[in-house]
Symmetry: none
Subunit: 150 residues, 2 copies
DNA sequence: CATTCGAATGTATAAATATTCTTTTCCCGC
DNA sequence: GCGGGAAAAGAATATTTATACATTCGAATG
């Protein structure tokens, strides 16, 4: 019984956001498993489900998705703590970071999905951002400067 | 203040398993931020931290990058706790896990970058490992059995 | 300055979750 | 079938987390 119930839990959790065990209890009852919250607490641990992230819902382990808002916030924090300098050359924007931080900041940058960013490249301490043209590069620089000051 | 405190939270959470906000409160107080649990609850949501998984600790969202040594250790621990059975069919190795654990164990397996592993596939409770030939599949089985016993 | 607005945080408490202890269920070997 | 033991689940409760509301603080504005 336990195995089948746990399969059902995975199904439910994957298909819609469940934010409490009581909510899960009702859903799983509808699937024909009438158990208490305590049992679900155990199931959840055994399945390694994870709670929190963007929407505070339970998620299967592995990839935890980050929504736009969180991604942007993460980027902003990364920016504030790691950015050393911003330069622009034509339609290219160059970010200088502390040594070794370019990769992680670049990942956060990609996650934030800022407009006008066509592509990015990260080295050891430098990130290259490609934008469509010089005008939009200037706009991006302004935006990044604002974000890094917060 | 908030930004710096949240950065500090990330640091702490990355370095050791934190299983409650009260525990986190003490740690962060030691870092010079004296705030209440309510504030930490809000910080945790804003950071998109996730709780649960293997050890019930808070974790940063997204893909956690790890070096080779850590990856191997993680894999070994995952193996010890989640592996149910090992089978081999020709050059294929099948790992059976507890329901729902195949994905995460498979991720750890990939991270460990074991020799002779050509590719992997994970279902709900089964992992398929493809090796070049039956001989190396046997070698891999032996290695996995050793690792899981430690 | 005083005022107002909003973000950040604290306080108190409600809500959610984990856990301890007990009961039930389900296999085995006899 | 019948103990004995282990796994599973329930009940009650302790612990942990989220939230409603109040307060403080700082920047912007008149």
């Amino acid at each position: 019984m336990k195995a089948r119930r746990q399969t059902a839990i995975l199904d439910i959790v994957r298909h819609e956001p469940i934010r409490s065990q009581e909510q899960l209890r009702l859903m799983i009852k509808a699937s024909g498993f009438d158990v208490t919250q305590a049992t679900l607490s155990r199931d959840i641990r055994e399945l390694g489900l994870v709670k929190g992230g963007a929407d505070g819902a339970y998620q299967p382990p592995g990839r935890v998705e980050v929504n736009g808002h969180t991604a942007k916030a993460m980027f902003q924090r990364a920016l504030a703590s790691q950015l050393r300098r911003i330069d622009r050359v034509q339609q290219l924007v160059l970010l200088k970071t502390g040594l070794g931080h370019a990769q992680s900041l670049c990942a956060a940058l990609d996650g934030a999905e800022l407009p006008d960013v066509v592509g990015t490249l990260a080295g050891e301490d430098t990130i290259l951002i490609i934008t469509p043209d010089a005008r939009r590069a200037r706009t991006l620089v302004k935006r990044l400067e604002e974000m890094s000051q917060t």
